[in-house]
């Protein structure tokens, strides 16, 4: 029989080693206990979540049934019903509501305009879309000290029909360059030479 050769190690503090070994084993047991407790907690959580799901399902079911049993209504039928109880003054008030609640001009709906810029625009007399259409963007930029590019970006939808100020590049394209002028002069000279 082949027996492994025994190997011995000298231990300085055997009692300490024994204590550490025992404590390690004790801790291991505690860990196992705790993990079991965690397992039970998880099981409880699972059960509760299942109950929660069941409750939600039953609520959905009950709500659908409730919707079924409650009388159907639409806007027209409600108005018709209300009109029976409305006096002439009430009707007037109801009729006035949409007029007063006509969508107010809200500058914050335009991109790139914060409260400070909106305040400046109000001070410059911008209270409606018509005001934007009437006023020149460059003038508005001077009055409000808001960069022209920001205003163009913000009011793109309003001033789309108006001619936007030409960019430098496009202006440069429209103006004849020096080469073109020289070419024209050269063509003239050539013509004269031909005539001679």
């Amino acid at each position: 029989m082949n027996q492994e050769t025994p190997y011995f190690v000298g231990i300085k503090n055997p009692s300490d080693l024994r204590r550490h070994l025992l404590n390690g084993a004790k801790d291991g047991l505690h860990v196992l206990q705790l993990s079991e407790e965690i397992k039970t907690v998880r099981e409880k959580q699972k059960q509760l979540l299942l109950d929660f799901q069941k409750n939600i399902f039953s609520m959905n079911k009950n709500l659908l049934l409730l919707q079924k049993y409650l009388p159907e209504h639409n806007k027209h039928s409600v108005r018709k019903h209300l009109s029976k109880y409305m006096t002439s003054s009430h009707k007037q008030q109801v009729a006035d509501v949409p007029k007063t609640a006509v969508k107010q001009f809200d500058l914050s709906a335009y991109p790139g305009l914060g409260p400070a810029r909106i305040k400046k625009l109000h001070e410059a007399g911008i209270h409606s879309e018509e005001d934007i259409k009437k006023i020149d963007i460059s003038v508005l930029s001077e009055r409000t000290s808001i960069p022209e590019s920001v205003l163009i970006h913000a009011f793109k939808s309003v001033i789309v029909k108006k001619e936007l100020p030409l960019k430098k590049e496009s202006i440069a394209k429209k103006l004849p360059s020096e080469i073109h002028i020289l070419e024209a002069k050269l063509a003239d000279i050539e013509k004269k030479l031909n005539n001679l």
Binding site: V9, I11, K12, N13, D16, L17, H20, L21, N23, G24, D27, G28, H30, V31, L34, S35, E37, I38, V41, R42, K44, Q45, L48, L49, D51, F52, N55, I56, S58, M59, N62, L63, L65, L66, Y69, L70, P71, H73, V78, H81, L82, Y85, M86, H90, Q93
Partner: protein, 70 residues
């Protein structure tokens, strides 16, 4: 401006019963959520204990290793 609105309800008993059931479901859900909250805190505590215990255990094992290894 206040206008009285009267709606004719045919199945009053059924509707009341459904509303009662809905109310019960809501209270059940409230209790479940409370329990879940308690369990969650308990779980957190257990995990914290476990972490401490594992740290302690690892120090013991380290000491044993130091004593045994040459």
């Amino acid at each position: 401006m206040t206008i009285p609105v009267f709606i004719k309800i045919a199945n009053e008993a059924k509707i009341l019963h459904l509303l009662d059931e809905l109310h019960n479901s809501f209270s059940d859900i409230e209790l479940i959520l409370k329990d879940l909250h308690v369990l969650r805190t308990e779980e957190h505590k257990l995990f914290f204990d476990l972490k401490n215990l594992l740290q302690q255990s690892s120090t013991h094992i380290k000491r044993v290793n130091e004593d045994i290894l040459i």
